[in-house]
């Protein structure tokens, strides 16, 4: 390679007000056609660094030093006008949140055409044709219809494809993808990333992939840069970084990858604690204004037994009905048919007191599952309201013990907003466990967390389960996490169970095609045979 396409040289970015360094003296290059991954946890400065390349620093941040040379031009010396001309044809960006990065008020076609008409002299007809071709290229089934449709008509994965298509239309030399698939499920993630890599290869585009997922790095990137607290801690080829990391932090990230627990999975026997037969849940179809379809069957006849103390994982892509199943099993949403038996007793549609008090739910998003106006202590104490004859001192003692067990002793007087995502999730877990439930539904409990935090929270869940002996329905699209915690695995597709079995059976010899596809799409780091540099330059 001759001169690199992008060269970031001793870049420093600081908060304008406090002078605190956000990006602290980082340097890296991206060669033409190269696929570079920037790895780091939230707050490591990776997004800020990427935005600087586009000249789009968030307000309140200032560049305090260093140079960025893009395609032979020093960004600092460019006029705003020239900078605007670079965005699009030279650098394109795909954002993390596909649900909000398209303008809901403008049709897909108009948004795609915007860039083309701005940067290229083309006739209306040519623009339309190019858009249609590109939509077909990203495997959207009906390009002509999509062109005239509005963003809300599409799922997250489809929107991310549209986003990718509109960015790649301009054939940028550099594509910055900021956690482009974090919000998507495993299968969709695979599809979108494969498309992205294919497109980049077609156009000779370099890709800067920002991610926290080492599995993706292993699968797609040729080189990786690891960032922590604004600094580059390690850089090298993917293989070097993943198999022979030099720095402790990289080591830590790799260790945080979920691994199959050693030892034999618990195979509980005896009477099931919870037994579900023929459960069906429908949505819509009722008097709703804009939806005319008859009920959508989200859960379609599920039979499932859960024994005391075991962890049953429910896996599947988004829309497979796994979340609905969890809610319906807790009798939080009405079912149209089926039976749930808990400890041999039938649970009626309006859950009885006994069942309500012995079952709990841990939510996916720790940012919205805690009441922002209650202190941590009050949140954890709230379930104890329903424990009969509990003296105030005893209640305080139990709350303190629980907080201590989730590693947050002395946090009782804090507010939720003062805590990090991982700490909040610990509080949510503490709230779920404090009353000593027999059955806990954990709905994607770690998917909103950073890798190292995920590992900690999964360990915490396992430890608490060993200690308190509750049964757990672990809902997840992340097979890597499932492999670490589950005793049994249930694979769902379209509201039905397509396969179930012990963890080892499912992971080692999947039978159903859907299970195989899910497993193949799961980004995992195979240390014996690194998949690095799969994408030819």
């Amino acid at each position: 390679m001759t001169t690199p396409l992008l060269s970031v040289d001793h870049l420093r970015i600081a908060a304008a007000r406090t002078g605190e360094a956000v990006v602290d003296d980082i340097s890296f290059d991206i060669a033409r056609g190269e696929f570079l991954a920037v790895v780091g946890e939230s707050g490591s400065g990776k997004t800020v660094a990427a935005r600087t390349v586009l000249g789009l620093l968030p307000p309140g941040l200032r560049r305090t030093g260093g140079r960025i040379v893009l395609d032979g031009e020093d960004l600092a010396t460019l006029s705003p006008k020239r900078l605007r001309a670079l965005r699009g044809p030279v650098v394109g960006m795909v954002f993390q949140e596909p649900m909000v990065s398209l303008n809901p008020a403008i049709s897909v076609g108009a948004q795609m055409a915007e860039g083309l008409s701005l940067h290229m002299r083309l006739s209306k007809k040519e623009i339309r044709q190019r858009c249609l071709d590109m939509l077909a290229r990203v495997q959207i089934r009906d390009p002509a219809r999509t062109f005239d449709a509005y963003p809300h008509e599409f799922s997250g994965g489809m929107r991310q494809r549209i986003m990718l298509a509109s960015v790649m239309l301009l054939r940028p030399k550099l594509l910055i993808a900021d956690e482009p698939t974090t919000a998507l499920d495993t299968l969709t993630q695979r599809e979108v990333l494969d498309l992205m890599v294919g497109l980049a290869r077609d156009h000779g585009t370099s890709v800067m992939l920002i991610t926290h997922n080492l599995g993706l790095v292993a699968r797609y990137a040729q080189r990786a840069v690891v960032m922590q607290k604004g600094k580059v801690v390690e850089a090298g080829t993917t293989e070097q970084v993943l198999t022979t990391p030099r720095e402790a932090y990289t080591r830590q990230l790799i260790d945080a990858l979920p691994r199959r627990a050693t030892g034999i999975a618990r195979l509980a026997v005896g009477e099931p604690l919870m037994s579900v037969r023929g459960l069906k849940v429908e949505f819509g179809g009722r008097r709703q204004f804009f939806r005319q379809q008859p009920g959508l069957r989200a859960v379609d006849g599920i039979d499932l037994d859960i024994r005391a103390g075991e962890t049953v994982a429910v896996v599947g892509g988004s829309g497979s009905g796994k979340t609905t199943l969890g809610r319906a099993m807790l009798r939080l949403i009405p079912s149209v048919a089926g039976q749930i038996r808990f400890r041999g007793k039938e649970v009626p549609e309006a859950a009885d007191r006994d069942f309500r008090l012995s079952s709990q739910l841990v939510f996916q998003d720790p940012y919205s599952s805690l009441d922002p106006r209650m202190r941590v202590g009050e949140i954890v104490a709230e379930p104890l309201r329903h424990v009969a004859q509990l003296a105030a001192t005893e209640r305080t003692r139990r709350v303190e013990k629980m907080l201590d067990e989730v590693g947050l002793a002395n946090f009782a007087n804090r507010w939720p907003h003062e805590l990090s995502g991982g700490q909040r999730q610990r509080i949510a877990i503490a709230r779920a466990i404090v009353r000593g439930p027999l059955f806990v539904v954990a709905d994607e409990p770690v998917s909103a967390l950073d890798m190292t935090i995920q590992a900690q929270v999964l360990k915490l869940l396992e430890r608490l389960q060993a200690q308190y002996g509750f049964a757990c329905l672990f809902i997840s699209h992340d097979l890597a996490a499932v492999e670490q915690v589950a005793d049994r695995v249930v694979v769902m597709q379209g509201g039905r169970i397509v396969e179930q079995g012990s963890r080892d059976d499912i992971f080692d010899s999947p039978q159903h095609d859907y299970t195989k596809a899910l497993l193949a799409a799961t980004p995992m780091v195979d240390f014996a045979k690194p998949e690095a540099a799969r994408v030819p330059a």
């Binding site: 939510f363 599952s369 106006r373």
Partner: protein
Amino acid sequence: MKMRANTAIGGFLIGILFATAVTAAFWTPFDPLKVNLRARLQPPSALYWLGTDEFGRDVLSRIMAGAATSVFVSVLTVTFAVIIGAVIGVITGYLRGWTDRIIMAVNDALLAFPGILLALAVMIVTGANKFGIVLALGIAYIPSVVRVVRGTVLSIREREYIEASRVIGNSELYSMARHVLPNSLAPVAVLATSMFGWVLLAESALSFLGLGVPPPAPTWGNLLAASRPYMESAAWLSIAPGICIALTLLGINLLGDSLRDRLDPRMVHG
């Protein structure tokens, strides 16, 4: 720092207002109702600090006495409208379904009706007195509180911590009172402060139309109304109550902002 300045200035202005209202109950420089035809329309002087009106009544005394009435009417009206409006708003937003549709249809009809006309209609039934004003303006302002509270409740009730409360085994009523209501009140605090201003002005407007607190009892509204014919010859008559209304509104708005920040644990920092 900015927040503290807001609180201090707002608190100072409102403090003066309440002090004036309380003082006026016991003492004013002159009897606010005493007519003195020999001292008609006198400009501000050492004796009459803010001058006298067309009947020779001391303006300062009348403003002090008016402060008590105006504050009483405004505070009571806002409290009335906020409490009733918040309860209706939470119920309609939380229950949804037919309850919601019926209540909101009535509410929207009331909203579409000009508030002051609605108040006029109520005043005609109740007659012109303090409580009539409170009831009339209260009813006129309830619909906007309902709208705001219902909107917030609709978004709050979908949050996961409400579902978490249900999983814990809390009753719907408890979830509403403990989780939904406190989280829906921030916009109401802001609305209430601006409402205070509207009520003060509406009370002036009603007085102006002869339907407010009946003369000769002074309120800021009827002081302003009575000053209109003398705007050119005796400007002090309108300037003094006008400044009082403006400063009160400023104080309330500043205090309202800091109240909202105070109410939100996320905003309380060093």
